[in-house]
């Protein structure tokens, strides 16, 4: 610190400790602590609600801990993780999760994109249409699943009634009674939930594309298909990617629809990763093993998050 600063500090008639800190090139303690004090409440809440439970469950996942048996904890290392890889039911639930979220994501995305393209043109009442189409996002997932469960009831459900009117004869399709139809029903509910989300995301993306780009394309003689392929699609790539990854991360945790509509059946055909983890850890209190299963799910989600971050990173580089 030069003599000017020393003189300045003295001239400001600061407290001796503060003046000493400034003279020694350090900020006063109170000023150094201030940012920490400001973020402390948030940090504490995060520690209590996210970090601690995560760390606790990680520790538990290395133990054989049965909440219902009063056996206490027994450290077993990676045994739970190894057992999970040999657990046919867990592996089957992973496959079934993929069989549900794959078609659900693709169909919801295509449908949402189609709706976004339709709604991207100005017409009277567009705002109302967008709002109405977005309603499924606002409906609680459990309420949606319960409604679909009732609508799909073979004898008294609205779906069979409507189909019966359309084909002119009484249909009694057991939508949740066969593995293929039950899976399809769960997929349809997810499409109903997620298509409006993609519609909104992609509509926002479409409206952010400058009209000048299309005008320039038209001047260069581009056909509507070329405009779509060379302008619309590339510029929607990033919103689409982010939307797909958000959908993927949420859908891999699919639980409520399955719990309410099928309870994992028929014959375990709709038992998903989180549903099986719930049964193991919460229903039968194999807390250690259940924690290990949940960390496999978490690992899958984290992998997708990394992909998202990397994709965003590449986008930034591309923009720069």
């Amino acid at each position: 610190m030069d003599t000017t600063t020393k003189a300045g500090a003295k001239a400001l008639s600061l407290a001796p400790a503060t003046r000493a800190a400034l003279v020694n090139g350090r900020r006063p303690t109170s000023r150094r602590l201030a940012p920490w004090l400001l973020v402390a409440p948030t940090l504490l809440v995060m520690l209590a609600t996210s970090v601690f439970p995560l760390a606790y469950s990680l520790v538990v996942s290395f133990t054989r801990y049965e909440l219902a048996r009063e056996t206490g904890w027994e450290f077993v290392g990676l045994v739970n993780y190894r057992d999970a890889l040999r657990d046919q039911r867990f592996l089957a639930s992973a496959v079934q999760t993929a069989q549900i979220i794959g078609p659900a994501l693709v169909t919801a995305f295509v449908l949402g994109f189609a709706l976004a393209l339709l709604l991207n043109r100005p017409f009277g009442g567009r705002g109302l249409f967008v709002s109405l189409l977005a309603v499924p996002i606002m409906v609680a997932p459990t309420a949606g699943a319960m409604s679909f469960g009732l609508m799909l009831t073979p004898k008294y459900g609205a779906v069979n009634d409507l189909l019966s009117i359309l084909v002119g004869q009484r249909l009694l399709i057991d939508w949740l009674g066969s593995p293929a139809l039950a899976k399809l029903s769960v997929v349809v509910v997810q499409v109903w939930r997620w298509a409006p989300f993609y519609m909104l995301v992609l509509l926002a993306g479409l409206q952010a594309i400058p009209d000048e780009l299309y005008e320039a394309g038209r001047i260069d003689g581009a056909s509507p298909l070329q405009l779509f392929g060379f302008i619309t699609l590339p510029l929607l790539r990033w919103p689409a990617l982010v939307g797909l990854l958000i959908g993927f991360i949420d859908l891999i945790k699919i639980f409520d629809t399955v719990y309410i509509m099928t309870t994992g059946g028929p014959g375990g055909s709709t038992e998903t990763l989180t549903f099986y983890t719930y049964y193991t850890g919460v229903r039968f209190f194999h807390v250690g093993y259940g924690a290990a299963l949940s960390f496999y799910v978490l690992a899958a989600v984290l992998l997708l998050c990394v992909l998202l971050v990397r994709a965003s990173g590449r986008r930034e580089e591309g923009v720069a």
């Binding site: 054989r64 049965e66 909440l67 219902a68 048996r69 009063e70 056996t71 206490g72 027994e74 077993v76 045994v79 046919q88 009831t153 073979p154 004898k155 009694l172 399709i173 057991d174 949740l176 009674g177 066969s178 593995p179 099928t262 309870t263 994992g264 059946g265 028929p266 014959g267 375990g268 055909s269 049964y279 919460v282 229903r283 039968f284 209190f285 194999h286």
Partner: protein
């Protein structure tokens, strides 16, 4: 991998007492230890204290509300029932118990959970003796009292809902001479309430897909519960027991995948094709609805269904329903036919309740013979008889014209009532077996494959909980079953 079991942390003396007590299951619970004192002459008043009850369904809450005023008048107790759905009851209550707490003063639970719950419950007999209360245990139907109320020789639970499965048949599908002739022509024997599961299958096939009811609608053969897990297990158990099966052999090897289990499940799978659409997710209420709406000719379900079937406000089949014990099987030229004590609900008092004495008085009131019979006669409660005085009461016999026959079926079924597993982890064993049943019905697995997989899972549970301990506790249960004539009948 090192194994441990739940008794590792339990005092050895306590373990021995547990096994010894469990061995006494069905022989001499502490209900027999002393002569029962007369009901207290001077009734205690708790001055408006609230007793919170965990009721495992709304229809059980109805039962508690029925006598709320009586509880207040007699004991000064305010009864506050709170519904915990039955499929969540185990984990909700156990979660509280595991943290040494209970929001409830009385918990309703399935007797199969007693092995897991007992250490969190107050033994009732010493409390009742100290309070001068008579729980009238000698009047409780023996199967419920001896197998479903005690653990380690101590009374921890009072039977509240005496569940068992029986056979229901719609007489409209059986009565006509034309139907009789058609059936005899096709199957070579008379159309009558089925004695065996094979006959049940034939009659379900015969009644399926045509209008035997005369209302212009297509009707179905049979309705049973095929919902995965615990619910589906009850319907499998009724067949498995009647095919001569028991859960484990003497060495604790699962027998659900024995020929008995395979035949029982094969029968379920075959009959499924004659069930109403949507049956893969059918449980108690859906099966009941199928019967009382006249959709099906045959059904197996809990005994509370009879009251609904005879209730003109809820039923299209009033006066048309017949009752019988569950069908059996011909084994070695003899008809093997047992009852199925599917589920059941009992009341217990958590050690962690702050109002144990008031809870005990409430428990006494709600399981008292004169109260119990009235609860069981109300179609809105879903509560089945638990007491001999109830099934022999004039009120029960006069409830509807065919009630005497219905009560005879109950008495016959309970006398040879086959119990659910009563060892630690019972809920999990049952869930996995019910899932296997559902997988075979949905044809995601073959019958044998589904049961083999479930048997492997059962072995895993046994190993995890400690094979030796489980073996001893199963032996205790099986010994009690043998004393009631319930032994394994090999079909191999």
């Amino acid at each position: 991998m090192s194994h441990y079991h739940w008794l590792d942390r339990v005092d050895r003396r306590e373990f021995l007492r547990t096994v010894a007590g469990a061995t006494a299951l069905g022989v001499a619970g502490d209900w027999q230890a002393t002569a029962l004192p007369a009901r207290a002459a001077a009734r205690k008043n708790f001055g408006g204290k609230t007793v919170r009850v965990a009721a495992s369904a709304e229809y059980y809450a109805v039962a508690f509300r029925m006598f709320r005023e009586k509880a207040e008048q007699e004991y000064g107790i305010k009864i506050a029932p709170e519904v915990i759905p039955s499929h969540e009851a185990y984990q909700r209550v156990m979660l509280e118990f595991s943290s040494r707490a209970s929001s409830y003063d009385i918990v309703m639970f399935s007797p199969q959970w007693l092995a897991d719950f007992a250490r969190h419950l107050e033994p009732l007999k010493p409390m009742a003796d100290a309070a001068g209360l008579n729980l009238s245990l000698e009047d409780v139907l023996p199967a419920f009292r001896d197998m479903y109320s005690t653990w380690a020789g101590r009374l921890y639970a009072m039977p509240f809902d005496g569940d068992m499965h029986i056979l229901y048949y719609n007489t409209a599908a059986f009565g006509s001479a034309e139907y009789q002739q058609r059936f005899r022509d096709k199957y070579g024997y008379p159309l009558a309430p089925p004695q065996t599961w094979e006959q049940y299958r034939d009659m379900a096939e015969f009644s399926n897909g045509w209008d035997w009811f005369g209302d212009g609608q297509k009707h179905y053969g049979a309705s049973d519960g095929y919902r995965p897990g615990r619910t589906g297990f009850w319907w499998f158990m009724g067949r498995f027991a009647n095919y001569g099966g028991v859960y484990f052999d003497e060495e604790m090897r699962p027998l659900i995948n024995s020929p008995n289990g395979v035949k029982a499940l094969q029968n379920m799978v075959e009959i499924f094709q004659f069930a109403p659409p949507g049956s893969t997710n059918f449980g108690y209420t859906e099966v009941e609805t199928a019967l009382v709406k006249g959709d099906v000719a045959l059904s197996t379900n809990w005994t509370s269904v009879a009251r609904v079937a005879e209730d003109p406000n809820r039923s299209k089949v009033v006066g048309k329903i017949g009752y019988a014990m569950l069908p059996g099987t011909m084994i070695g030229g003899k008809l093997h036919r047992v009852g199925s004590l599917a589920s059941g609900w009992s009341l217990g008092i958590p050690k962690y309740s702050a109002n144990k004495e008031a809870a005990l008085h409430a428990l006494e009131l709600y399981t008292r013979p004169d109260v119990s019979v009235k609860i069981s006669l109300n179609p809105a409660t879903g509560v089945d008889y638990t007491r001999r005085s109830s099934v022999e009461s004039s009120e029960a016999r006069a409830a509807w014209p065919s009630a005497p026959k219905f009560l005879e079926v109950i008495k016959a079924s309970v006398d040879v009532g086959f119990p659910a597993p009563l060892i630690p982890g019972a809920e999990e064993y049952m869930k996995l077996c019910g899932d296997a049943m559902a997988a075979a019905v949905a044809k995601t697995k073959g019958v044998k494959q589904a049961l083999d997989d479930a048997a492997r899972e059962w072995d895993r549970i046994t190993d995890r909980l400690g094979r030796d301990t489980q073996k001893q506790l199963w032996k205790a249960q099986y010994d009690a079953m043998k004393k009631r004539g319930l032994v394994y009948k090999s079909l191999a």
